[in-house]
Assembly symmetry: C2
Homo-oligomer: 225 residues x 2
DNA sequence: CTTCGATGATGAGGATTTTCATGGTTTTAG
DNA sequence: CTAAAACCATGAAAATCCTCATCATCGAAG
């Protein structure tokens, strides 16, 4: 699940980010209107946390633009002012929920979950890149129209890459995310090499339009070819 | 890691609990002084979150008693009043940190981590039950004086049980905790049966003084024999 | 341009994890 | 008390995962 935080208070942004990442969300941040809009046109997010008061414009405008772009995904408004007008206007413009600062982080987490649950009704959520499509809930994978099979760890790897297309993913990030706490600075990445090898074999066998490129000394990157 | 929350505001207690559980801590709660004291004499916790204002006594007294009991583990004071006197007195009495309400949950989480890290210096932390001792960080296990070997999943199971001695553990809890998100209401518990079987074989081979008892229709329970 | 150290890839083998088929227990209903 | 159903245990086979040894590739220094 991928979440975009649009929030100009950097320390608060950081608190949100670390909390959400601990919840295993994939998080990106934008400090202002402009950056937020760019990210939104480039990527698709499962949920957007939008602060109304931005340095370079009112968040409600961004909401209007989003509507025109016909982007899917949930949106929760975060606002310092608990004004009824803002709330009503925001919800009218298509926001899914409204949260006034200050709030408990647990409250935010439960709102995120409920909003995403609500929006998921009747339409499954997928992660797509190239001709590959992944359903994070059912662990199904399609290449083009054909459903394909892979093992659990292979799925974990693939999903992790699919959620970060075109970005460099370090081996320690992979290890951390796939093996979780069971991983304290190991100096041996053999099992990552092994999994990457297997996943690459799958991708070519499937005729997928994506591949895992090595970035020497840095890690790997999922690219379209 | 096991945490005890002593806090009378039940809704706040609940927020803390869910947050900490999402962080994979094992959480127990006590709504007042008396209950807290009972739990503390029965079990050992890695960290205690103590509210100063309790309905049946001042939390600082509990701190004094704890000191006499020579209990290990970290303690963080939570207080509605941000008074310097309380803070100084609390820290004098051996508290490891002091947090004034309201606070961000992310703040609490980082305090917990830093406090536990600090207290862990020079003395490893173990989970013990019967003649079995487990180090959650290094994944080492001892039975009596002898170090023993087991596989990763067996370790996961053992640790999960060791953190909840004498409590019934359901199969869905086990599945959830060991396989994480990769687990949506599966109707097949064969792999749990298999792991339990292997772990039991280990325990008897080691001459451990503990065993995994079945609780028909409920799950399993780690008991001393 | 060559060499060397560091980094990454690969096939094979062994260990672990999961599934499957079967049989034994416990509970409940009759 | 008996039978049926749900629940649990177990050995063996299959699938997956991780390690090891070896080889290939990359980048920096000379």
């Amino acid at each position: 699940m991928k979440i975009l935080i649009i929030e100009d208070d950097l320390s608060f942004q950081e608190i949100l980010r670390s909390t959400l990442e601990q919840e295993r969300y994939v998080v990106e941040v934008a400090p202002d209107y402009r950056t937020g809009l760019i990210k939104l046109s480039d990527y698709t997010y499962d949920c957007i946390l939008l602060d109304i008061n931005l340095p370079d414009g009112n968040g409600l405008n961004l909401l209007r633009e989003l509507k025109e772009m016909k982007k899917t995904g949930s949106l929760i408004i975060i606002s310092a002012r608990d004004s009824i007008e803002d709330k009503v206007e925001g919800l009218d413009l298509g926001a899914d929920d409204y949260l006034a600062k200050p709030f408990h982080l647990a409250e935010l987490l439960s709102r995120i979950k409920s909003v995403m649950r609500r929006n998921n009704q009747g339409g499954e959520q997928y992660v797509s890149y190239g001709n590959v499509k992944v359903n994070p809930h059912t662990f199904e994978v399609w290449v083009g129209e054909a459903k394909v099979e892979l093992s659990r760890k292979e799925f974990d790897f693939l999903l992790y890459f699919m959620q970060r297309p075109n970005r460099i993913v370090s081996k320690s990030m992979l290890a951390e995310s796939i093996w979780g706490d069971h991983f304290d600075d190991v100096d041996n990445y053999d099992f990552i090499y092994a999994q990457i090898k297997n996943l690459r074999k799958r991708l070519t066998a499937w005729n997928a339009s994506i591949e895992i490129a090595s970035v020497y000394g840095m890690g790997y990157k999922l690219i379209e070819n």
